[in-house]
Protein backbone atom coordinates (compact mmCIF):
# COMPACT_ATOMS: atom_id res chain seq x y z
CA UNK A 1 0.00 0.00 0.00
CA UNK A 2 1.22 3.49 -0.76
CA UNK A 3 -1.32 5.29 1.40
CA UNK A 4 -3.92 5.59 -1.33
CA UNK A 5 -7.38 4.20 -0.80
CA UNK A 6 -7.76 0.84 -2.53
CA UNK A 7 -10.89 -0.24 -4.34
CA UNK A 8 -12.23 3.24 -5.06
CA UNK A 9 -12.94 3.44 -8.76
CA UNK A 10 -11.79 7.06 -8.91
CA UNK A 11 -8.49 6.50 -7.11
CA UNK A 12 -5.31 5.18 -8.56
CA UNK A 13 -4.73 1.64 -7.48
CA UNK A 14 -3.17 -1.53 -8.69
CA UNK A 15 -5.25 -3.53 -11.13
CA UNK A 16 -6.44 -6.83 -9.72
CA UNK A 17 -6.81 -10.00 -11.78
CA UNK A 18 -10.61 -9.77 -11.67
CA UNK A 19 -10.48 -6.18 -13.01
CA UNK A 20 -8.96 -7.27 -16.28
CA UNK A 21 -12.06 -7.98 -18.31
CA UNK A 22 -12.68 -7.02 -21.94
CA UNK A 23 -14.51 -3.95 -20.57
CA UNK A 24 -11.50 -2.62 -18.67
CA UNK A 25 -9.47 0.18 -20.25
CA UNK A 26 -6.42 -1.73 -19.00
CA UNK A 27 -7.11 -4.27 -21.76
CA UNK A 28 -7.07 -3.53 -25.50
CA UNK A 29 -10.71 -4.61 -26.07
CA UNK A 30 -11.77 -2.21 -23.32
CA UNK A 31 -9.48 0.57 -24.54
CA UNK A 32 -10.80 0.33 -28.10
CA UNK A 33 -14.43 0.03 -26.95
CA UNK A 34 -14.00 3.40 -25.21
CA UNK A 35 -12.29 4.79 -28.32
CA UNK A 36 -15.30 3.68 -30.39
CA UNK A 37 -17.41 5.83 -28.07
CA UNK A 38 -15.09 8.76 -28.79
CA UNK A 39 -13.10 8.58 -25.56
CA UNK A 40 -9.30 8.14 -25.73
CA UNK A 41 -8.36 6.72 -22.35
CA UNK A 42 -4.87 6.95 -20.95
CA UNK A 43 -3.13 6.02 -17.76
CA UNK A 44 -1.44 8.44 -15.40
CA UNK A 45 1.08 7.33 -12.82
CA UNK A 46 0.20 8.39 -9.32
CA UNK A 47 3.86 8.43 -8.30
CA UNK A 48 5.60 10.35 -11.10
CA UNK A 49 2.72 11.79 -13.16
CA UNK A 50 3.86 10.08 -16.38
CA UNK A 51 0.89 9.74 -18.75
CA UNK A 52 0.47 7.19 -21.54
CA UNK A 53 -1.95 5.44 -23.90
CA UNK A 54 -3.16 2.81 -23.72
CA UNK A 55 -3.40 2.26 -19.94
CA UNK A 56 -1.13 -0.54 -18.67
CA UNK A 57 -0.45 -2.28 -15.35
CA UNK A 58 2.73 -0.38 -14.47
CA UNK A 59 4.33 2.98 -15.21
CA UNK A 60 7.15 2.69 -17.72
CA UNK A 61 8.94 5.68 -16.24
CA UNK A 62 9.12 4.73 -12.56
CA UNK A 63 7.67 1.22 -12.28
CA UNK A 64 4.82 2.14 -9.95
CA UNK A 65 1.63 0.12 -10.31
CA UNK A 66 -0.59 2.92 -8.98
CA UNK A 67 -2.18 4.00 -12.25
CA UNK A 68 -5.23 6.21 -12.71
CA UNK A 69 -7.32 6.17 -15.88
CA UNK A 70 -7.89 9.55 -17.49
CA UNK A 71 -9.73 10.63 -20.60
CA UNK A 72 -7.28 12.37 -22.90
CA UNK A 73 -7.68 15.71 -24.61
CA UNK A 74 -8.04 15.65 -28.40
CA UNK A 75 -5.72 18.56 -29.01
CA UNK A 76 -2.03 18.10 -29.58
CA UNK A 77 1.06 19.11 -31.54
CA UNK A 78 3.19 17.29 -34.12
CA UNK A 79 6.61 16.39 -32.70
CA UNK A 80 7.85 14.80 -35.91
CA UNK A 81 6.32 13.59 -39.14
CA UNK A 82 7.09 11.74 -42.33
CA UNK A 83 5.56 10.51 -45.53
CA UNK A 84 5.32 6.78 -46.14
CA UNK A 85 5.87 6.34 -49.86
CA UNK A 86 5.23 2.59 -49.90
CA UNK A 87 3.18 1.40 -46.93
CA UNK A 88 2.28 -2.22 -46.20
CA UNK A 89 -0.08 -3.79 -48.79
CA UNK A 90 -3.20 -3.18 -46.66
CA UNK A 91 -2.66 0.58 -46.93
CA UNK A 92 -1.35 0.74 -50.50
CA UNK A 93 -4.55 2.35 -51.80
CA UNK A 94 -4.04 5.33 -49.46
CA UNK A 95 -0.37 5.89 -50.29
CA UNK A 96 1.44 8.09 -49.70
CA UNK A 97 0.54 8.24 -46.01
CA UNK A 98 1.42 11.11 -43.73
CA UNK A 99 2.41 9.79 -40.31
CA UNK A 100 3.28 11.75 -37.19
CA UNK A 101 4.18 11.41 -33.57
CA UNK A 102 1.84 13.73 -31.68
CA UNK A 103 2.07 15.01 -28.14
CA UNK A 104 -1.40 15.62 -26.74
CA UNK A 105 -1.92 18.54 -24.40
CA UNK A 106 -1.86 16.06 -21.48
CA UNK A 107 1.72 15.04 -22.35
CA UNK A 108 0.65 11.69 -23.81
CA UNK A 109 2.46 10.81 -27.03
CA UNK A 110 1.27 8.51 -29.78
CA UNK A 111 1.91 7.73 -33.43
CA UNK A 112 -0.88 8.03 -35.96
CA UNK A 113 -1.98 8.86 -39.48
CA UNK A 114 -2.47 12.51 -40.38
CA UNK A 115 -5.34 13.37 -42.72
CA UNK A 116 -3.28 15.87 -44.70
CA UNK A 117 -0.55 15.87 -47.33
CA UNK A 118 3.01 15.80 -46.07
CA UNK A 119 3.63 19.36 -47.26
CA UNK A 120 0.65 20.71 -45.29
CA UNK A 121 2.03 19.87 -41.85
CA UNK A 122 5.34 20.19 -40.01
CA UNK A 123 6.88 19.94 -36.57
CA UNK A 124 4.80 22.18 -34.33
CA UNK A 125 1.56 21.97 -36.35
CA UNK A 126 -1.46 21.77 -34.01
CA UNK A 127 -3.67 18.76 -34.68
CA UNK A 128 -6.86 17.24 -33.35
CA UNK A 129 -7.54 13.57 -32.78
CA UNK A 130 -10.45 11.99 -34.63
CA UNK A 131 -11.70 8.41 -34.61
CA UNK A 132 -13.19 6.42 -37.46
CA UNK A 133 -14.14 2.83 -38.26
CA UNK A 134 -11.81 0.71 -40.34
CA UNK A 135 -12.29 0.69 -44.09
CA UNK A 136 -13.10 -2.63 -45.77
CA UNK A 137 -9.51 -2.87 -46.95
CA UNK A 138 -8.17 -2.21 -43.46
CA UNK A 139 -10.52 -4.86 -42.08
CA UNK A 140 -8.93 -7.40 -44.40
CA UNK A 141 -5.60 -6.64 -42.73
CA UNK A 142 -7.13 -6.75 -39.25
CA UNK A 143 -7.15 -9.87 -37.13
CA UNK A 144 -10.60 -11.17 -36.20
CA UNK A 145 -10.52 -9.56 -32.77
CA UNK A 146 -9.44 -6.22 -34.24
CA UNK A 147 -12.15 -5.73 -36.85
CA UNK A 148 -14.34 -3.54 -34.66
CA UNK A 149 -11.45 -1.59 -33.21
CA UNK A 150 -11.52 1.95 -34.59
CA UNK A 151 -8.56 3.86 -36.02
CA UNK A 152 -7.34 7.15 -34.62
CA UNK A 153 -6.45 9.78 -37.22
CA UNK A 154 -5.10 13.28 -36.62
CA UNK A 155 -6.42 16.28 -38.51
CA UNK A 156 -4.76 19.68 -38.70
CA UNK A 157 -6.55 21.88 -36.14
Amino acid sequence: MTGRERGDGESPRRVKPEDLTAESPFTLPGFFAALSDGRLLGGRCDECEQAFVPPRPACYACGSREIAVEEQPREGTILTNTEVARPAPAFAADAPLTIAIVELDSGVRLTGRVAADYEEVEIGTPVELTVRELTDQEKEFALDHEEEWPLHVFEPA
Binding site: L28, F31, F52, V53, P54, Y60, L79, T80, N81, T82, E83, V84, A85, R86, P87, A88, P89, A90, F91, D94, L97, I99, A100, I101, V102, R109, L110, T111, G112, R113, Y118, I123, E138, A142, E146, W149, L151, H152
Partner: protein
Protein backbone atom coordinates in the same frame (compact mmCIF):
# COMPACT_ATOMS: atom_id res chain seq x y z
CA UNK B 1 34.69 -17.23 -12.92
CA UNK B 2 35.88 -18.48 -16.33
CA UNK B 3 36.78 -15.73 -18.82
CA UNK B 4 34.84 -16.13 -22.07
CA UNK B 5 36.70 -15.62 -25.35
CA UNK B 6 35.80 -15.80 -29.02
CA UNK B 7 37.43 -19.04 -30.14
CA UNK B 8 36.51 -18.92 -33.81
CA UNK B 9 34.12 -17.26 -36.28
CA UNK B 10 32.50 -18.02 -39.62
CA UNK B 11 29.92 -16.49 -41.90
CA UNK B 12 28.31 -16.76 -45.28
CA UNK B 13 28.69 -13.87 -47.71
CA UNK B 14 25.88 -11.33 -47.20
CA UNK B 15 23.50 -10.65 -50.06
CA UNK B 16 20.73 -12.08 -52.19
CA UNK B 17 21.53 -15.80 -52.06
CA UNK B 18 20.21 -18.89 -53.80
CA UNK B 19 20.82 -20.76 -50.56
CA UNK B 20 18.23 -21.21 -47.80
CA UNK B 21 18.74 -20.34 -44.15
CA UNK B 22 20.03 -23.73 -43.13
CA UNK B 23 22.45 -23.80 -46.09
CA UNK B 24 23.80 -20.39 -45.18
CA UNK B 25 24.35 -21.72 -41.66
CA UNK B 26 26.27 -24.66 -43.11
CA UNK B 27 28.63 -22.15 -44.77
CA UNK B 28 29.16 -20.29 -41.49
CA UNK B 29 29.67 -23.54 -39.58
CA UNK B 30 32.22 -24.88 -42.09
CA UNK B 31 34.33 -21.74 -41.78
CA UNK B 32 34.07 -21.50 -37.99
CA UNK B 33 35.08 -25.16 -37.42
CA UNK B 34 37.63 -25.44 -40.23
CA UNK B 35 40.48 -25.80 -37.74
CA UNK B 36 38.54 -27.15 -34.78
CA UNK B 37 37.34 -30.63 -33.74
CA UNK B 38 33.78 -31.65 -34.64
CA UNK B 39 31.23 -29.46 -32.85
CA UNK B 40 29.84 -32.62 -31.21
CA UNK B 41 33.14 -33.07 -29.40
CA UNK B 42 33.33 -29.62 -27.85
CA UNK B 43 30.06 -27.63 -27.99
CA UNK B 44 27.81 -27.66 -24.92
CA UNK B 45 24.92 -25.43 -26.09
CA UNK B 46 23.64 -23.57 -29.15
CA UNK B 47 21.70 -20.33 -29.58
CA UNK B 48 20.27 -19.07 -32.88
CA UNK B 49 19.31 -15.45 -33.51
CA UNK B 50 16.46 -15.39 -36.01
CA UNK B 51 13.96 -12.62 -36.64
CA UNK B 52 10.99 -14.13 -38.37
CA UNK B 53 9.42 -17.39 -39.43
CA UNK B 54 7.52 -15.51 -42.12
CA UNK B 55 10.47 -15.59 -44.55
CA UNK B 56 10.90 -19.37 -44.72
CA UNK B 57 7.92 -20.61 -42.71
CA UNK B 58 10.34 -22.22 -40.31
CA UNK B 59 10.54 -21.96 -36.55
CA UNK B 60 12.50 -24.44 -34.39
CA UNK B 61 15.74 -23.11 -35.80
CA UNK B 62 17.51 -24.17 -32.58
CA UNK B 63 16.67 -27.80 -33.18
CA UNK B 64 17.32 -27.65 -36.92
CA UNK B 65 20.77 -26.07 -36.67
CA UNK B 66 21.76 -28.32 -33.76
CA UNK B 67 20.94 -31.27 -35.99
CA UNK B 68 22.86 -29.72 -38.89
CA UNK B 69 25.92 -29.27 -36.67
CA UNK B 70 25.75 -32.74 -35.15
CA UNK B 71 24.59 -31.31 -31.84
CA UNK B 72 21.25 -33.05 -31.18
CA UNK B 73 22.47 -33.89 -27.68
CA UNK B 74 22.86 -30.27 -26.47
CA UNK B 75 20.26 -27.68 -25.47
CA UNK B 76 19.50 -25.45 -28.45
CA UNK B 77 17.07 -22.60 -28.88
CA UNK B 78 16.06 -19.79 -31.18
CA UNK B 79 16.42 -16.31 -29.67
CA UNK B 80 13.98 -13.60 -30.76
CA UNK B 81 14.54 -9.87 -30.50
CA UNK B 82 14.12 -8.69 -34.07
CA UNK B 83 17.45 -7.30 -35.30
CA UNK B 84 19.07 -7.73 -31.86
CA UNK B 85 18.47 -11.50 -31.89
CA UNK B 86 22.06 -12.18 -32.95
CA UNK B 87 23.68 -10.28 -30.09
CA UNK B 88 21.13 -11.72 -27.66
CA UNK B 89 22.29 -15.20 -28.78
CA UNK B 90 25.91 -14.11 -28.29
CA UNK B 91 25.07 -12.72 -24.85
CA UNK B 92 23.57 -16.06 -23.82
CA UNK B 93 26.72 -17.85 -24.98
CA UNK B 94 29.02 -15.47 -23.11
CA UNK B 95 27.00 -15.77 -19.92
CA UNK B 96 26.78 -19.58 -20.11
CA UNK B 97 30.58 -19.74 -20.30
CA UNK B 98 31.19 -17.09 -17.66
CA UNK B 99 28.88 -18.89 -15.24
CA UNK B 100 30.88 -22.10 -15.63
CA UNK B 101 27.83 -23.97 -16.94
CA UNK B 102 29.41 -24.54 -20.35
CA UNK B 103 32.96 -24.68 -21.72
CA UNK B 104 32.07 -23.99 -25.36
CA UNK B 105 28.86 -22.48 -26.78
CA UNK B 106 27.93 -21.83 -30.39
CA UNK B 107 26.15 -18.52 -31.00
CA UNK B 108 24.77 -18.10 -34.47
CA UNK B 109 22.25 -16.13 -36.45
CA UNK B 110 20.40 -16.76 -39.67
CA UNK B 111 17.99 -14.86 -41.89
CA UNK B 112 16.67 -15.50 -45.40
CA UNK B 113 15.04 -12.11 -45.92
CA UNK B 114 14.88 -12.14 -49.71
CA UNK B 115 12.43 -15.07 -49.68
CA UNK B 116 9.40 -12.76 -49.70
CA UNK B 117 10.84 -9.85 -51.64
CA UNK B 118 10.74 -6.27 -50.37
CA UNK B 119 7.02 -6.53 -49.60
CA UNK B 120 7.60 -9.65 -47.52
CA UNK B 121 10.41 -7.97 -45.60
CA UNK B 122 8.29 -4.85 -45.02
CA UNK B 123 5.50 -6.99 -43.64
CA UNK B 124 7.77 -9.16 -41.50
CA UNK B 125 9.63 -6.20 -40.02
CA UNK B 126 6.40 -4.36 -39.19
CA UNK B 127 5.64 -7.12 -36.68
CA UNK B 128 8.32 -5.51 -34.50
CA UNK B 129 6.14 -2.42 -33.99
CA UNK B 130 3.45 -1.99 -31.36
CA UNK B 131 0.36 -3.65 -32.79
CA UNK B 132 -2.18 -1.51 -30.97
CA UNK B 133 -1.34 1.93 -32.30
CA UNK B 134 1.68 1.78 -34.63
CA UNK B 135 1.08 -1.19 -36.93
CA UNK B 136 -2.56 -0.28 -37.45
CA UNK B 137 -1.55 3.17 -38.69
CA UNK B 138 0.29 1.68 -41.68
CA UNK B 139 3.78 2.68 -40.66
CA UNK B 140 6.86 0.91 -42.07
CA UNK B 141 10.41 0.44 -40.78
CA UNK B 142 11.93 3.24 -42.88
CA UNK B 143 9.17 5.62 -41.79
CA UNK B 144 9.72 4.82 -38.13
CA UNK B 145 13.37 5.84 -38.53
CA UNK B 146 12.31 8.80 -40.66
CA UNK B 147 10.34 10.10 -37.66
CA UNK B 148 13.56 9.92 -35.63
CA UNK B 149 15.63 11.47 -38.44
CA UNK B 150 13.22 14.38 -38.93
CA UNK B 151 13.32 15.20 -35.22
CA UNK B 152 17.10 14.71 -35.00
CA UNK B 153 17.71 17.11 -37.88
CA UNK B 154 15.21 19.59 -36.38
CA UNK B 155 16.92 19.62 -32.97
CA UNK B 156 20.57 19.38 -34.03
CA UNK B 157 20.61 21.17 -37.38
CA UNK B 158 21.98 18.05 -39.08
CA UNK B 159 21.23 17.98 -42.81
CA UNK B 160 20.26 15.31 -45.31
CA UNK B 161 23.68 15.79 -46.92
CA UNK B 162 25.42 15.05 -43.61
CA UNK B 163 23.36 11.89 -43.23
CA UNK B 164 24.27 10.93 -46.79
CA UNK B 165 27.95 11.07 -45.83
CA UNK B 166 27.37 8.28 -43.30
CA UNK B 167 26.26 6.05 -46.17
CA UNK B 168 29.26 7.15 -48.26
CA UNK B 169 31.68 6.28 -45.44
CA UNK B 170 30.11 2.88 -44.82
CA UNK B 171 30.09 1.95 -48.50
CA UNK B 172 33.76 2.93 -48.63
CA UNK B 173 34.47 0.55 -45.74
CA UNK B 174 32.40 -2.24 -47.30
CA UNK B 175 34.38 -1.90 -50.53
CA UNK B 176 37.28 -3.39 -48.55
CA UNK B 177 35.24 -6.16 -46.88
CA UNK B 178 34.99 -9.44 -48.79
CA UNK B 179 31.98 -10.44 -46.64
CA UNK B 180 29.98 -7.34 -47.64
CA UNK B 181 26.84 -7.15 -49.75
CA UNK B 182 27.93 -3.93 -51.52
CA UNK B 183 31.67 -3.93 -52.17
CA UNK B 184 31.58 -0.64 -54.03
CA UNK B 185 32.04 3.03 -53.21
CA UNK B 186 29.27 5.57 -53.74
CA UNK B 187 29.26 9.38 -53.65
CA UNK B 188 26.96 11.72 -51.75
CA UNK B 189 25.09 12.64 -54.94
CA UNK B 190 24.06 8.99 -55.39
CA UNK B 191 22.46 9.08 -51.94
CA UNK B 192 20.91 12.52 -52.31
CA UNK B 193 19.46 11.78 -55.74
CA UNK B 194 17.94 8.44 -54.72
CA UNK B 195 14.15 8.46 -54.21
CA UNK B 196 12.59 9.21 -50.85
CA UNK B 197 11.44 6.10 -49.02
CA UNK B 198 10.15 8.10 -46.07
CA UNK B 199 11.15 11.75 -45.85
CA UNK B 200 13.87 12.73 -45.02
CA UNK B 201 15.28 9.21 -45.64
CA UNK B 202 16.06 8.10 -49.16
CA UNK B 203 16.75 4.67 -50.61
CA UNK B 204 20.50 4.98 -50.00
CA UNK B 205 19.95 5.96 -46.35
CA UNK B 206 18.56 2.46 -45.75
CA UNK B 207 20.23 -0.89 -45.12
CA UNK B 208 19.32 -3.47 -47.75
CA UNK B 209 17.28 -6.66 -47.54
CA UNK B 210 19.88 -9.40 -47.02
CA UNK B 211 20.39 -13.11 -46.63
CA UNK B 212 23.15 -14.39 -44.37
CA UNK B 213 24.22 -16.60 -41.53
CA UNK B 214 27.04 -16.13 -39.04
CA UNK B 215 28.56 -18.22 -36.27
CA UNK B 216 30.69 -17.18 -33.30
CA UNK B 217 32.16 -19.86 -31.03
CA UNK B 218 32.54 -18.77 -27.41
CA UNK B 219 34.79 -20.75 -25.07
CA UNK B 220 36.36 -20.39 -21.68
CA UNK B 221 39.90 -19.04 -21.97
CA UNK B 222 41.19 -22.25 -20.41
CA UNK B 223 39.49 -24.56 -22.91
CA UNK B 224 40.29 -22.23 -25.81
CA UNK B 225 43.99 -22.54 -24.95
CA UNK B 226 43.80 -26.27 -25.66
CA UNK B 227 42.37 -25.65 -29.13
CA UNK B 228 44.00 -22.54 -30.66
CA UNK B 229 46.86 -20.08 -30.07
CA UNK B 230 45.83 -17.39 -27.63
CA UNK B 231 46.54 -14.59 -30.18
CA UNK B 232 43.70 -16.04 -32.23
CA UNK B 233 41.19 -15.39 -29.46
CA UNK B 234 39.40 -12.22 -28.40
CA UNK B 235 38.12 -11.58 -24.88
CA UNK B 236 34.36 -11.07 -24.50
CA UNK B 237 34.94 -8.90 -21.46
CA UNK B 238 31.70 -7.01 -21.11
CA UNK B 239 28.08 -7.36 -22.12
CA UNK B 240 25.11 -5.12 -21.42
CA UNK B 241 21.51 -5.16 -22.51
CA UNK B 242 18.58 -2.82 -22.11
CA UNK B 243 15.08 -2.24 -23.38
CA UNK B 244 12.99 0.82 -24.09
CA UNK B 245 9.30 1.30 -24.85
CA UNK B 246 8.05 -0.70 -27.80
CA UNK B 247 6.18 2.31 -29.21
CA UNK B 248 8.63 4.91 -30.54
CA UNK B 249 6.36 7.82 -29.65
CA UNK B 250 6.87 7.23 -25.93
CA UNK B 251 10.67 7.43 -26.05
CA UNK B 252 13.18 10.27 -26.02
CA UNK B 253 13.24 10.92 -29.77
CA UNK B 254 16.83 12.17 -29.97
CA UNK B 255 18.62 10.05 -27.37
CA UNK B 256 18.53 6.26 -27.62
CA UNK B 257 18.37 5.54 -23.91
CA UNK B 258 18.18 1.76 -24.28
CA UNK B 259 21.47 1.77 -26.18
CA UNK B 260 22.98 4.10 -23.56
CA UNK B 261 22.05 1.65 -20.81
CA UNK B 262 23.32 -1.37 -22.75
CA UNK B 263 26.68 0.24 -23.54
CA UNK B 264 27.12 1.46 -19.98
CA UNK B 265 26.51 -2.06 -18.74
CA UNK B 266 29.11 -3.46 -21.13
CA UNK B 267 31.69 -0.81 -20.22
CA UNK B 268 31.18 -1.39 -16.50
CA UNK B 269 31.52 -5.15 -16.81
CA UNK B 270 34.69 -4.79 -18.89
CA UNK B 271 36.08 -1.97 -16.76
CA UNK B 272 36.65 0.33 -19.72
CA UNK B 273 35.58 3.83 -20.75
CA UNK B 274 33.99 4.84 -24.04
CA UNK B 275 37.14 6.82 -24.85
CA UNK B 276 39.19 3.60 -24.80
CA UNK B 277 37.24 1.95 -27.63
CA UNK B 278 39.25 1.83 -30.89
CA UNK B 279 36.69 0.34 -33.28
CA UNK B 280 32.93 0.02 -33.06
CA UNK B 281 30.20 -1.65 -35.03
CA UNK B 282 27.00 0.26 -34.39
CA UNK B 283 23.51 -0.54 -35.62
CA UNK B 284 23.31 1.70 -38.71
CA UNK B 285 20.11 0.21 -40.12
CA UNK B 286 19.45 3.74 -41.40
CA UNK B 287 22.01 6.53 -41.67
CA UNK B 288 20.50 8.47 -38.76
CA UNK B 289 21.22 5.54 -36.43
CA UNK B 290 24.98 6.04 -36.45
CA UNK B 291 24.90 9.61 -35.07
CA UNK B 292 22.21 8.68 -32.54
CA UNK B 293 24.28 5.73 -31.32
CA UNK B 294 27.58 7.61 -31.32
CA UNK B 295 26.00 10.04 -28.85
CA UNK B 296 24.23 7.39 -26.76
CA UNK B 297 27.28 5.17 -26.20
CA UNK B 298 29.55 8.07 -25.31
CA UNK B 299 31.68 8.54 -28.43
CA UNK B 300 30.24 11.92 -29.37
CA UNK B 301 28.95 14.97 -27.52
CA UNK B 302 25.17 15.45 -27.72
CA UNK B 303 24.10 16.96 -31.06
CA UNK B 304 27.52 16.28 -32.66
CA UNK B 305 26.92 12.66 -33.58
CA UNK B 306 26.49 13.35 -37.27
CA UNK B 307 30.26 14.02 -37.45
CA UNK B 308 30.59 10.23 -37.37
CA UNK B 309 31.10 10.41 -41.13
CA UNK B 310 34.29 12.47 -40.68
CA UNK B 311 37.80 11.14 -40.07
CA UNK B 312 38.61 11.01 -36.34
CA UNK B 313 40.96 14.00 -36.60
CA UNK B 314 38.30 16.18 -38.24
CA UNK B 315 35.65 15.82 -35.54
CA UNK B 316 34.74 18.33 -32.82
CA UNK B 317 36.30 18.39 -29.36
CA UNK B 318 34.72 15.80 -27.14
CA UNK B 319 34.55 13.17 -29.86
CA UNK B 320 36.59 10.01 -29.30
CA UNK B 321 38.96 8.72 -32.01
CA UNK B 322 36.87 5.59 -32.57
CA UNK B 323 36.57 4.18 -36.10
CA UNK B 324 32.90 3.39 -36.77
CA UNK B 325 31.39 0.58 -38.87
CA UNK B 326 34.66 -0.58 -40.41
CA UNK B 327 32.80 -3.58 -41.87
CA UNK B 328 30.60 -1.26 -43.90
CA UNK B 329 27.93 -1.53 -41.26
CA UNK B 330 24.38 -2.69 -41.79
CA UNK B 331 24.15 -0.12 -44.56
CA UNK B 332 26.69 -1.71 -46.89
CA UNK B 333 27.96 -4.93 -45.32
CA UNK B 334 24.28 -5.85 -45.27
CA UNK B 335 21.66 -6.58 -42.64
CA UNK B 336 20.42 -10.18 -42.43
CA UNK B 337 18.37 -9.29 -39.37
CA UNK B 338 18.86 -12.13 -36.87
CA UNK B 339 22.48 -12.65 -37.95
CA UNK B 340 23.58 -9.01 -37.85
CA UNK B 341 24.76 -9.03 -34.24
CA UNK B 342 27.10 -11.93 -35.04
CA UNK B 343 28.47 -10.20 -38.16
CA UNK B 344 29.27 -7.24 -35.91
CA UNK B 345 31.18 -9.51 -33.51
CA UNK B 346 33.02 -11.09 -36.44
CA UNK B 347 34.21 -7.67 -37.65
CA UNK B 348 35.41 -6.88 -34.12
CA UNK B 349 37.16 -10.26 -33.94
CA UNK B 350 38.92 -9.67 -37.25
CA UNK B 351 40.01 -6.16 -36.26
CA UNK B 352 41.30 -7.29 -32.86
CA UNK B 353 43.24 -10.26 -34.29
CA UNK B 354 44.75 -8.23 -37.13
CA UNK B 355 42.82 -10.10 -39.82
CA UNK B 356 40.82 -7.20 -41.25
CA UNK B 357 42.95 -6.89 -44.39
CA UNK B 358 42.67 -3.58 -46.23
CA UNK B 359 40.33 -2.14 -43.63
CA UNK B 360 42.54 -3.04 -40.64
CA UNK B 361 42.66 -0.30 -37.99
CA UNK B 362 46.28 -0.36 -36.80
CA UNK B 363 46.69 -1.14 -33.13
CA UNK B 364 43.02 -1.83 -32.49
CA UNK B 365 42.81 -3.29 -28.96
CA UNK B 366 39.20 -2.72 -27.88
CA UNK B 367 35.92 -2.94 -29.77
CA UNK B 368 32.30 -2.17 -29.00
CA UNK B 369 29.43 -3.85 -30.84
CA UNK B 370 25.95 -2.35 -30.47
CA UNK B 371 23.06 -4.39 -31.85
CA UNK B 372 19.51 -3.01 -31.72
CA UNK B 373 16.15 -4.68 -32.26
CA UNK B 374 12.68 -3.35 -32.93
CA UNK B 375 12.79 0.27 -33.99
CA UNK B 376 16.09 1.74 -32.77
CA UNK B 377 16.61 0.88 -29.10
CA UNK B 378 13.46 -1.14 -28.35
CA UNK B 379 16.05 -3.69 -27.27
CA UNK B 380 19.81 -3.19 -27.39
CA UNK B 381 22.72 -5.50 -26.65
CA UNK B 382 26.27 -4.17 -26.37
CA UNK B 383 29.47 -6.20 -26.18
CA UNK B 384 32.96 -5.00 -25.32
CA UNK B 385 35.56 -7.23 -26.98
CA UNK B 386 39.30 -6.97 -26.29
CA UNK B 387 42.46 -8.28 -27.90
CA UNK B 388 44.33 -10.88 -25.83
Amino acid sequence: MPDPVILSVGASPVGDSELTGRDLFSVALAEAFENLPDPAGIVDALYVGNQSESYEHQIMYGTLLAEWAGLRHVPAERVEGCAAAGALALRHAVRDVRSGQCDVVLACGVEKMTAGGTAGATEALSAAFDRALEQRSGITAPSQYALLAERYCHETGATEEELARVAVKNHSNAARNPRAQYQSEIDAETVLESPYVARPLKLFDCAPVSDGAAAVVIASEEVAATLVDSEETVRASGVGAGSNNLAVAERDLTFVEGAHRAARGAYEEAGVEASEIDVAEVHDAFTVCEPLLAEAVGFAPRRAGVECALEPGERSDGWSDVELSTSGGLKARGHPIGATGLYQAIEAYEQLTGRAGDRQVEGAKRALCVNEGGVADAVTVAHVLEAT
